[in-house]
């Protein structure tokens, strides 16, 4: 090989895999032969198209490519590469191979970005999970599109440079430091968020029972079903649920932000600092709900991770669409299997659903409702019993009357409720320390025995209710879990009769209590 030109360089980039970043090394080789620009490494069509974007962007940025044979390889070569984030690293690797950039400056630098034909750099999705994973694998310097720079900068200890053009990157890598690493004040970010909060529970008049039920549901992360006539304030209540959830910790915020980053929903924000509230329309498809697609993307249930997934008009959803919720509700994550890989997205959401009692909405008010009992039953039957079983708490919201709407009585604010919820949550965290349980709703029948011990008096009440009210074993466990949360809210270690009674009132619907 004497006399032959031997130029090789290697840059690092990353792809999103599930909610993690996967390091991809971009190798460029320049050799003699017919002038050719070839890219290999199991590429998706948008990655193959990078060839044209890179060639023209290089030309428009003032670099003339000599007539050589250029081969680019993206490794590991057995994982399919998708997306446009490889444009920039490919261009950089080629420039390094031609000697425009010192090889050593690429060593611990991770580069991502999409190129425009004029050499500008456009934003990409998934910067946060990539930076987060790469940081753990020892990368220190990150070159990302300017619009995504704030996302990357929240990762502790990562030097993230936001760049706008190819030339800027070249000079940055040649150590002509005009670009400063992006800097985000996380503390300020969280404080600022509190100011923006503008919906509050104090705006909802009346609905004491529903508010109380929601408070309990949030405390123990129980799923809740609200039933009520149109205009009784179900949606209004649901929208305010995030406002009484404990504030996000940095780790939680990070977890949510990673998902939003992959979905491309960051909107130039550094972190998602508010509890998510997702309320998909009932025409949503299965894939949009759980995530998926040819290139898997997180769905609504993952976007609602650590927040609230609100399904308004539950019976109007396609039956098979809501039934897919069952497994994620148990596992707190959703697994999407594809031929090439299996992706796992977190889905630890609190399910809040609302529905009318019948198709006209006014049952049992016979002055307004003309539905026959069978019609009412059929309406309810659109939801399977197994899904109903996932709701620990079920509450009927009452039609508001004028007097209640006019009341001057001061309503409790979200802050007050949140304080109680936070205390109840802390009690739970402490109790279940070291186990894979965080909330009462996650208790299994075995752990219920351990943590929901009853005194003889309580035992006999529950036994009587079990027989007289025809409860199922499932309902029995749900009542205990909810009673545990109610006791926690009161700061009582022992579950008392009144806690059990209240839980019985909230027990999820048995079909026989409907239009009998």
């Amino acid at each position: 090989m004497k006399g032959a030109v031997f130029m090789f360089s290697k840059a690092f980039s990353a792809a999103v895999h599930g909610i993690d970043g996967l390091i991809v090394s971009v190798e460029a080789d320049i050799s003699d032969g017919l002038p050719l620009f070839d890219m290999v490494g199991y590429l998706g069509s948008e990655v193959k198209e990078a060839r044209e974007r890179v060639r023209i962007a290089l030309k428009n940025s003032g670099y003339m490519l000599p007539a050589k044979r250029i081969t680019v390889n993206l490794s590991p070569a057995d994982i399919r590469k998708e997306g446009t984030a490889f444009d920039l690293p490919v261009a950089i690797a080629i420039l390094a191979a031609f000697g425009y950039i010192p090889e050593e400056s690429l060593k611990d630098t991770l580069i991502i970005g999409e190129l425009s034909l004029n050499g500008n750099i456009n934003k990409v999705n998934g910067v946060l999970p990539i930076v987060y994973s790469a940081k753990q694998q020892g990368f220190l310097k990150f070159i990302v599109p300017k619009e995504n720079a704030r996302e990357g900068a929240v990762v502790c200890g990562a030097q993230t440079y936001g760049v706008t053009s190819l030339n800027e990157v070249v000079s940055l890598l040649n150590n002509n430091n005009q670009v400063e690493p992006e800097c985000v004040d996380i503390k300020e970010l969280f404080e600022h968020n509190e100011m923006a909060e503008n919906i509050d529970f104090s705006e909802v008049a009346g609905q004491m029972a529903a508010k109380r039920a929601i408070e309990i549901a949030v405390s123990g992360m129980h799923n809740i079903l609200m039933i009520g006539p149109p205009g009784s304030g179900k949606t209004m209540l649901a929208k305010r649920i995030p406002s009484i959830m404990p504030e996000l910790t940095f780790e939680e915020s990070m977890e949510i932000s990673k998902i939003y980053s992959i979905a491309g929903l960051m909107d130039n924000k550094a972190l998602i600092s508010k509890r998510p509230f997702r309320s998909p329309h009932h025409t949503i498809t299965q894939t949009a709900l759980t995530g998926g697609g040819r290139l898997p993307k997180p769905g609504e249930i993952s976007l609602a991770h650590l927040g609230v997934l609100f399904l308004d008009e539950l019976p109007e959803f396609q039956k098979n669409t809501i039934e897919v919720l069952r497994q994620p509700l148990e596992d707190k994550s959703v697994t999407i299997a594809r031929l090439n890989a299996t992706y796992r997205y977190p889905a630890g959401f609190m399910l809040v659903a609302a529905m009318n009692p019948c198709s006209c909405g006014y049952y049992p008010d016979r002055n307004k409702c003309n539905c026959s009992i069978n019609l009412v039953k059929r309406y309810l039957n659109r939801i399977s019993q197994s899904l109903l079983d996932r709701f620990d708490i079920c509450i009927e919201a009452l039609q508001m009357n004028y007097k209640e709407l006019q009341t001057e009585q001061k309503q409790e604010s979200s802050d007050d409720i949140r304080r109680r919820v936070s205390i109840a949550r802390e009690i739970q965290l402490k109790r279940y320390e070291g186990q894979k349980i965080w909330f009462n709703s996650q208790l299994t029948p075995r752990s219920i025995k351990k943590y929901c011990k009853l005194e003889p008096k309580e035992q006999s009440l529950l036994e009587e209710a079990f027989i007289k009210m025809n409860l199922s074993a499932r309902a029995y466990h749900r009542i205990l879990k909810v009673a545990r949360t109610i006791a926690d809210l009161e700061g009582s270690e022992q579950i008392h009769t009144k806690h059990i009674s209240e839980a019985i009132c909230y027990r999820s619907m048995d079909q026989k209590y409907w239009g009998e």
């Binding site: 529903a210 016979r366 509450i395 009927e396």
Partner: protein
Amino acid sequence: MKFEEYNYWLANLDKIGPVKIEKLIHYFEKAEHIFHASKNELMAYIMNGYDNRGKLTETDIDNLMNSRDKEKIKKNYDKLKNQGIYFVSKEDSRYPINLKNIYGAPFALYIKGKLPEEQKKKIAVIGARECSAYGKEMAKYLAGALAGEGIEIISGLARGIDSYAHEGALTACGVTYGVLGCGIDICYPKENINLYMEMQKDGGIISEYAPGTRPLAGHFPMRNRIISGLSDAVLVIEAKEKSGSLITVDMGLEQGKEIYALPGRATDRLSEGCNNLIKMGAKLVTTPKDILEDFIPNYGQKVVESKKNNKLLETKGKIVYACLSLEPKHIEEIALETNLPLDALMEQLVLLELQGFVRQAMKNYYVTRE
């Protein structure tokens, strides 16, 4: 062929209903004579002709002549017996006298179980299919209380009030009869199959339609005349302004029966029919006593159980119970009225429910239990 078999043949002729049959029987005296009558005799009957009502046409006569297949009639009649269905025609001594005298009385009845007994008092309890919780509770309560006193409850085995009246009577171990608008072997609506089976044990199912007749809309107003005809009085639980139940009432009035009605609030559409009946002179019923005193001599002397239960021990429970009625009330409304905190209120409600004083009408709505 036997006497009843001739009647069975007559009852099942196409396009020949109770009025035509009555005229025929009046002329020929016996079904057997009609069966054996020659065409000339029948034509002569037409010529003699009475008035237009119940007049036979020539096609009717052809029908009549062509259906004289003894084998087939016998086979069908035996089949009825095998199915446990009784056939009682108007010519039969077992035919209820109450019914015999009404206009358009059915020529024949099909029965599963038994017919109402003549010496017993009978009352028709009727009302809306789409009833309220109030109507439901009251129908069960009144029918149960009346049946408990030995009064037989007659209704139409339809959805809503009819079913609850039957149910109330059965729970009180009383006797109840259902009059169907379809063939006796068809349970319509299907969900009433339990009632349908249960009623046959002590009471019975009655229909004027031959087995296999489908429940057509036109049949139901017709069977109402049997409901009122069999009974001594009619009690209307809930009826809208234009309700099918009012047809039964009209027929009952024609037949000279006493009408009772359960009042409702002026604004309740489901009670408009009842309230109008009361305006027109129907007797207002709030307790079973209102009916029983008309049915049973010296009933007033008996001690009537007080309506509200006083067996409750705890005062909180009393407060909660006092604010409940047969109208479903939401937890929130109860909380506002009693001024109890939610957790204490729920504790009381669960206790009351377990003790059997209240019932959850639907999720979070409570009613008292009578």
